[in-house]
């Protein structure tokens, strides 16, 4: 295919922004002072005071929004024709050593049609309940990302369909490992950690029901469904 001279790679977004120059990888980006992502201004125009701060560092734009309306902002960024952030690449959180600084929950959004990257942050003040709305209904990929964030930081994503631990085992009792008050070696002694780990029954957690795709079969395309039911390998 690559040897064929007539082959032209399809560039995402090139058809959408008529007359725009072909985007290239930016070089020598200054640490501060570069233009923010146009989505930041658009979000400000749309939501007003909900957007509390816009930072641009190393050419990457961070939008800090209110805790209560983060779901609306992300929903709008996903749905709006001028934004089309169709890919959620990460959900994570940041806790600082400084006890005064709030804990932050971070969403990394990418717009493939417009080639834009936007970081959405929510600051949760110290002492407040660690709960933010889940964006699982907007991006299905948020499912495991939010579970990991819950596992490591203890942040509750309200509205998540199946919020339980994903990296540590479900009976893990020692807390949330990436929090600053979590000791590196865990809270329990080594022998107690080993005893609790060995007490687990592997088959109880990794059930066949969980691994099967039977429940999702109805959502698959017709040809894939046909091949799976006839026992043929899909080969991706």
């Amino acid at each position: 295919m690559s040897g064929n001279g007539s082959f032209k790679p399809v560039v995402a977004g090139s058809a959408l922004v008529a007359g725009a120059p072909s985007p290239t990888t930016p070089r020598k980006v200054a640490r501060t002072g570069t233009h923010p992502n146009p989505s930041a201004d658009a979000a400000r125009a749309q939501f007003g005071d909900v957007v509390t701060r816009v930072d641009v560092v190393w050419g990457e734009t961070t939008v800090v929004v209110d805790q209560s309306s983060v779901h609306d902002v992300i929903q709008w960024l996903h749905d709006d024709e001028g934004q089309r952030y169709d890919y959620l690449s990460d959900v994570t959180a940041v806790e600082y050593r400084d006890l005064e600084r709030p804990l932050e929950v971070v969403w990394h959004l990418r717009s493939l049609p417009f080639r834009r990257f936007l970081r959405v942050k929510v600051a949760i003040p110290r002492g407040a309940t660690l709960a933010v709305p889940s964006v699982w209904d907007v991006y299905k990929s948020a499912d495991w990302l939010e579970r990991e964030c819950y596992d490591m930081f203890g942040i509750e994503f309200t509205g998540h369909p199946d919020l339980r631990r994903i990296l540590m085992w479900e009976q893990y009792k020692e807390g949330y490992p990436l929090r600053k008050d979590f000791p590196l070696r865990g809270r329990f002694s080594r022998s107690e950690q080993l005893r609790q780990a060995l007490a687990a029954n592997p088959e109880a957690r990794y059930s066949k029901d969980e691994l099967t795709i039977a429940q999702a079969l109805e959502d698959l395309p017709a040809d894939m469904r046909r091949r799976l039911t006839s026992g043929e390998r899909t080969g991706e």
Binding site: E174, P177, P183, L184, R185, G186, S189, R190, L198
Partner: protein
Amino acid sequence: MGLSPRPEPKLIQTTSEEPWVTTRLDAFINWGRKNSLWPMPFGTACCAIEFMATAASKYDLARFGMERQAFSPRQADLLICAGRVPFKLAPVLRRIWQQMPQPKWCISMGACASSGGMFDNYAVVQGIDTIIPVDVYVPGCPPRPEGLLYGIMMLQKKVEKERMADRSLRDEMEPDPESQLFIAPSEIDEVSEPFGNSVQQTRSGL
């Protein structure tokens, strides 16, 4: 230190008391066993890559009768644990060991499997010998294929010297609190105090 003396090895007979036929049979069986070990690689990390290099053509594990890699524990003699084992995997590793038929041996390959290595943290088992019995430890991070081959040859020497009369070799024992070998978990923690768990330890100073 809380360490109790080892029990008298009453079960192990000296060679001179065994009849000539038994010792020759031992020698013959052990010769067969040591030259046809079927390894099961339990590869979890970079050591598994080095194990693949050992099994590939340049170092050629097949020279040691390890032609057949068993990816089922039920058809394996030798468990090679290559890589770190997190606590979540601990019950799985023990189950795999229990599924292997006797006689069976285990090589702990690399620093992480032998001692936890650099991962002295909340998630990683500090040496798989806290879960299953280990015959040979291969140091290295990861060990070179020559190191693993040397470990395998050490294991072959060990297999060579085993005797059927020694019943203790094949008996799988759960630690009995009444036995002399039993060490209470609290004593183990006490012994490992300077390097073991400390709830005070944290990098943030909190």
